[in-house]
């Protein structure tokens, strides 16, 4: 804590130094802060910035694909667009926004004053932020000093040998490699911090069996991050060695293996999906009970299912590689393991439904997003089980069916829960409520746009449209489907603009929230909105999973039943 007060002190001293001092002091305060709440908010704002950029890239691609034989962008530009869209959305939108919420909420929920390593926390954020800017700097410097710059165009999984120096000259691929490597360093730092915070910084009485489920899920996510993100770091180091030192890891001319890169990438790539989706589950675990006015159903089962997902997620990666030809043993194993992971996920869905069952459901904006999440995640899971069957995957691998499937997870489940989390915790972070009216507009427009885009995207996939093509001929029967998909994308864009407007206008004009606007039960609602830099004037003591319920209902505390 000493560092925290010191840094804040420096900020205020600078502020006292005359005109322009307030702005500089504020800037210095944010740049030099080690406060987990400020770092969390910086993560979130940074992710929103990249969400806008990657969203625009998606729109450009949808304009290009809306009609056949289109020449809105060139094939080269299209390659860059899908590479940058994928890389940005995974590494610089998904990860930072989820880590941002984790940073903000985990210490507050366990009754701590900060993360275990506040300076490491700041370091992780700034490294991740730098990585994002490095990726986009490639647009200016990608091919070196001569000629115009180019962005990476190797796809977000950058299969070898396309990434070899011969096939990807210039430096655009290196920008991709280095930025992904750096973002991995930042993610490992934050994951380490979350684990240490969860294990070592809990307030008195906050046993592991009483941790809010959000904290449990972030803990498991972080543990997955150690084992999943490091292989990507290792693979990127190998790629750098190949490109700069003349190594042969993925050089097929010298006996190297392109398939090895696929394994290394997907050993990261599939657990990464769970790193992204578990925090979304974490939000649902907190939001659904509050608006069903019931305690979560099956807390131990939820924890067990999460840990189960954590373990099984390590053994499913090669379902991304059924079309490579791994042989019957490999295909069978990965088909089975992929289907097995649907079991703990199913347990979670039933627990959420059972939480809502018989509850007094309040259809606020966070809750309707959470309900939409439940339905859409179910459908995304079902197409996942379809693709897990390797013979089915042989037919539809690398088609728009796959693109539709994983966007159903990433948008239909994760992004919906992120929106829900924004509406739910915005009052805590800013002290003001977001507009419910705009929120409802956002929800309905977004859900219509989402289903227009991603329901109909399955169909051209089944009709044989491969992913990553920059245009197609008119006689394939894909044209009308693609037009619907593109229209949906624009509806989603309008909805997102409403959301961004809501975020900004509510900051100035929103209704004052007070410490506990939702009548919720976890510790973050026991302190002011926004919380003071020390979070809690007095470190709380807890006796159950719902400490605020115990305070509000001293005649019938939870601790009697747990």
């Amino acid at each position: 804590m000493a560092t925290q007060t010191q840094v804040a002190g420096v900020g205020y001293q600078a502020g006292a130094k005359g005109p322009g001092g307030v702005f500089l002091a504020t800037l210095q305060d944010w740049v030099m802060t080690v406060d987990h709440k400020k770092i969390g908010i910086m993560y979130i704002v940074y992710a929103l910035l990249f969400l806008a950029i990657a969203g625009v890239e998606a729109l450009l691609m949808r304009i290009q694909l809306a009609v056949p034989n289109n020449h809105f962008v060139s094939p080269q530009t299209f390659n860059r667009l899908f590479t940058m869209h994928g890389t940005t959305m995974v590494f610089f939108v998904g990860m930072p926004i989820l880590f941002g919420f984790g940073n903000y909420l985990v210490p507050l929920m366990i009754g701590a004053r900060d993360m275990a390593f506040p300076r490491l926390n700041a370091f992780s954020f700034w490294v991740s932020a730098f990585a994002g800017f490095l990726l986009y700097f490639s647009y200016f410097a990608g091919s070196g000093l001569y000629g115009a710059g180019t962005a990476p165009d190797v796809g977000w999984f950058a299969y070898a040998p396309l990434t070899a120096k011969v096939f990807s000259p210039g430096h655009s691929t290196d920008y991709w490699t280095l930025s992904v490597l750096l973002s991995g360093v930042g993610s490992i730092g934050t994951a380490l911090n979350i684990v240490a915070t969860t294990l070592c910084m809990r307030c008195k009485g906050m046993k592991l069996s009483r941790l809010p489920l959000l904290v449990w899920l972030y803990f498991v996510t972080s543990c997955i991050a150690f084992i999943a993100i490091s292989p990507l770091t290792a693979a990127q180091i190998m790629l750098i060695i190949d490109r700069y030192l003349g190594g042969h890891f993925f050089d097929t001319q010298a006996g190297g293996s392109a398939v090895l890169w696929m394994h290394f990438f997907w050993i990261f790539g599939h657990p990464e999906v769970y790193i992204l989706v578990l925090p979304a589950f974490a939000f649902a675990n907190e939001i659904i009970p509050v608006f069903s006015r019931k305690a979560i159903f099956g807390y131990p089962a939820m924890v067990a299912a999460t840990v189960g997902i954590g373990f099984i997620s390590m053994s499913v990666w090669a379902h991304h590689m059924f079309t490579v030809g791994m042989g019957p043993a490999g295909n069978t194993f990965f088909t089975l393991s992929t289907m097995i992971i649907a079991v703990p996920t199913g347990i979670k869905i039933f627990n959420w439904l059972a939480t809502m069952w018989g509850g007094n459901i309040h259809f606020t904006t966070p809750m309707i997003f959470a309900i939409a999440f439940l339905f859409q995640f179910l459908i995304a899971g079902l197409t996942g089980v379809m693709l897990a069957a390797s013979p089915f995957d042989w037919q539809l691998g690398s088609s728009y069916f796959v693109v539709a499937h994983f966007h159903y997870v990433l948008v239909g489940a994760i992004l919906f829960m992120i929106f829900s989390a924004f509406y739910f915790w915005y009052p805590k972070m800013t002290g003001r409520m977001m507009s419910e009216k705009l929120g409802k507009w956002h929800f309905w427009l977004f859900i219509i746009g989402f289903h227009l885009t991603f329901d109909f995207m399955h169909i051209p996939g089944i009709l044989g449209m491969p992913r990553r093509i920059f245009t197609y001929e008119a006689d394939r029967g894909w044209a009308s489907w693609n037009m619907i998909v593109s229209i949906g994308a624009f509806v989603q864009a309008i909805a997102t603009l409403i959301f961004l407007y809501n975020l900004i206008s509510s900051y100035f004009k929103g209704q004052i929230a007070g410490p506990d606007p939702w009548d919720a039960w976890t510790l973050e609602w026991s302190t002011n909105s926004p919380p003071p830099s020390y979070n809690f004037a007095q470190i709380p003591t807890v006796e159950s999973r719902r400490p605020l319920w115990d305070i509000k209902h001293p005649e019938d505390p939870d601790s009697r039943y747990e």
């Binding site: 009754g111 275990a116 390593f117 490992i188 994951a191 380490l192 911090n193 684990v195 240490a196 915070t197 294990l199 070592c200 910084m201 809990r202 008195k204 009485g205 972080s222 543990c223 991050a225 150690f226 084992i227 999943a228 993100i229 490091s230 292989p231 290792a234 693979a235 180091i237 190998m238 060695i241 190949d242 030192l245 003349g246 190594g247 042969h248 890891f249 010298a254 006996g255 190297g256 293996s257 090895l260 290394f264 410490p515 510790l523 026991s526 302190t527 002011n528 919380p531 003071p532 809690f536 004037a537 007095q538 709380p540 003591t541 807890v542 006796e543 400490p547 605020l548 115990d550 305070i551």
Partner: protein
């Protein structure tokens, strides 16, 4: 109103949690292990797949002496922590110096091995798959040794300046965990590269 949730019925038992330094180091070790696993897998996968020579059997000698030095440095660093826990700063400094010396010998051994491989046997990182995987795996480990040596050296400098005390025992223990990890990795690398890979 920052009402703290203080319902103090439950006073039984002291509230104990693990040390965050040690938890953090174990997390780092988990992440680092995953990196090493990938490099080791690549090494094993590419064993015997080089299209041209030299092969491991032709050029690699088993580094018995330096390996013994590195592994014994785990014992010396353990004694350094133990001494500091009992407030024997001078003994701790001596054990630290011993650890640095043993680690330094190991590093020098690797340096001489690489010099011989590059200038006499003509094996570089771009010669063949063996060169690529060998230098990257052993080099990744050596870079961890270097980081460990720098941190041990910092601890030794603090000790000679009289700024190391019993209150730092836990920090030194965290550092020693890292050093044990570096040694444990060497056991794996040694087995894979010098025993199985030949």
């Amino acid at each position: 109103m920052s009402t703290a949730v203080a319902v103090a019925h439950e006073t039984a038992g002291e509230w104990k949690q693990p040390s965050r330094g040690i938890v953090g180091m174990f997390c780092l070790i988990a992440a680092e292990s995953a990196i090493f696993v990938i490099f080791v897998v690549a090494y094993i996968y590419y064993t015997g797949k080089s299209l041209n020579g030299p092969t491991p059997r032709q050029v690699l000698d088993i580094p018995w002496f330096t390996s013994v030095c590195l592994l014994s440095s785990s014992i010396t660093v353990h004694f350094a922590v133990h001494a500091l826990q009992h407030a024997r700063v001078r003994a701790s400094a001596l054990w630290l110096a011993g650890t640095i010396l043993l680690g330094g010998i190991f590093l020098a051994g690797t340096g001489m091995e690489w010099y011989r491989l590059i200038y006499h046997d003509g094996l570089t990182i771009s010669t063949n798959l063996f060169g690529t995987t060998f230098y990257s795996l052993v080099g990744l480990h050596a870079s961890h040794v270097i980081v460990g040596l720098i941190m041990l050296l910092a601890a030794l400098i603090f000790a000679t300046m009289g700024k190391l005390g019993k209150q730092h025992a836990e920090r030194l223990e965290v550092l020693s965990l890292y050093w044990h990890f570096v040694d444990a990795v060497w056991v794996v690398v040694f087995t894979v590269v010098y025993v199985l890979g030949r």
